[in-house]
């Protein structure tokens, strides 16, 4: 009987390990994003991009080098291991659960994450937060959480983010001059929150 119990516990343990393995496989800097499956039905526009390492590698290979945008993207994506984007637009105000977004924001309070920008606009009721995960003086992950009454966006870019290359992107996708000094540690201090 004892042997049978031990066998059951071992089997349960192995099963738990099997279930836990995908979560354990999650790379550092990758946020656990909710599925927002129900929101997709309510949203007027939705973007749900999940580019895991293998798919990202495939996407990089198929970019058209003759297009400046895509050539620039190829330069960046080779060092990345994942891109995750959730964007939902609605035709009514606050049709999305704020607690889901707060749940993602809470993950960014983990050690290593630094808030680069925290912008709050009472006038437009918009919040934009940009976070960087710094490890060994290098940006390993980027997270953006932007919310408006009728839209919210969560971006998580995982991998060695070469700030120099990000700098090179400026102007290509409409990425602004971020005043990032290449080779230096990204600023850990919070940016001033405007209009608050």
């Amino acid at each position: 009987m004892n042997a049978r119990k031990a066998l059951c516990f071992t089997a349960l343990g192995l099963a738990a390990m099997g279930l836990a393995s995908p979560a354990m496989a999650q790379t550092r800097g990758q946020l656990r994003l909710p599925e927002f499956a129900a929101l997709a039905k309510k949203a007027t526009e939705s973007v749900n991009v999940t580019l895991a390492p293998q798919v990202l590698g495939l996407a990089c290979r198929f970019l058209d080098k003759s297009e400046p945008d895509e050539a620039a993207a190829q330069q960046i994506c080779t060092s990345l291991t994942g891109i995750y984007v959730r964007k939902y637009s609605f035709d009514t105000d606050y049709a999305y659960p704020k607690e889901d977004i707060e749940g993602v924001r809470r993950q960014l309070s983990a050690p290593g994450w630094s808030q680069l920008v925290g912008a709050r606009s009472k006038k437009d009721q918009t919040d934009v937060d940009v976070y960087l995960l710094i490890d060994g003086g290098q940006a390993k992950s980027l997270a953006i959480i932007a919310s408006e009454p009728r839209e919210f966006v969560i971006v998580n870019i995982v991998g060695s983010i070469d700030l120099e290359k990000l700098h090179e992107l400026e102007g290509k996708f409409g990425v602004p001059e971020l005043q990032i000094e290449a080779g230096e540690k990204a600023p850990a201090a919070k940016a001033p929150a405007p209009n608050k």
Partner: protein, 125 residues
């Protein structure tokens, strides 16, 4: 020697066959027939000889079918990868556009904030 033994010896003694016995046996046998001649049918006579090419035709056809199947499979896999790759690259570009748009929003928000002056800092403290 007993009488019984003598009787047996007498009964089993070798006896010569009667005259003309062998001739009578030979006459009783059926007459000897000539050996049968085998004549192949026309269909067999006209059948073509199985050449080396004909022997190899079936395995060659099977091998060719296998090669075609493998090539078709590779082509299908290549096209599938092509479709998946193009779809993934479109998603990647879309993701980067959303990212850049939001970075732009953050940048504009930061830029619109008036820089703190020393006077502001003193008032804060």
């Amino acid at each position: 020697m007993s009488d019984v033994e003598n009787e047996l010896r007498r009964a089993l003694r070798p006896v010569d066959p009667p005259a003309g016995f062998a001739e009578r046996v030979m006459r009783a046998l059926p007459p000897q027939r000539p050996p049968a001649t085998v004549t192949p049918l026309d269909i067999v006579r006209t059948a073509p000889r199985v050449t080396a090419w004909r022997r190899l035709m079936t395995p060659a056809a099977l091998a060719a079918s296998l090669v075609v199947a493998v090539m078709l499979g590779q082509q299908v896999a290549f096209e599938r990868e092509q479709r998946a790759g193009l779809a993934a690259s479109r998603e990647l570009m879309q993701a980067l556009r959303v990212t850049s748009q939001k970075l732009d929003d953050a940048y504009r928000a930061v830029q619109s904030t008036p820089p703190r002056t020393q006077e502001d800092e003193e008032n804060r403290s």
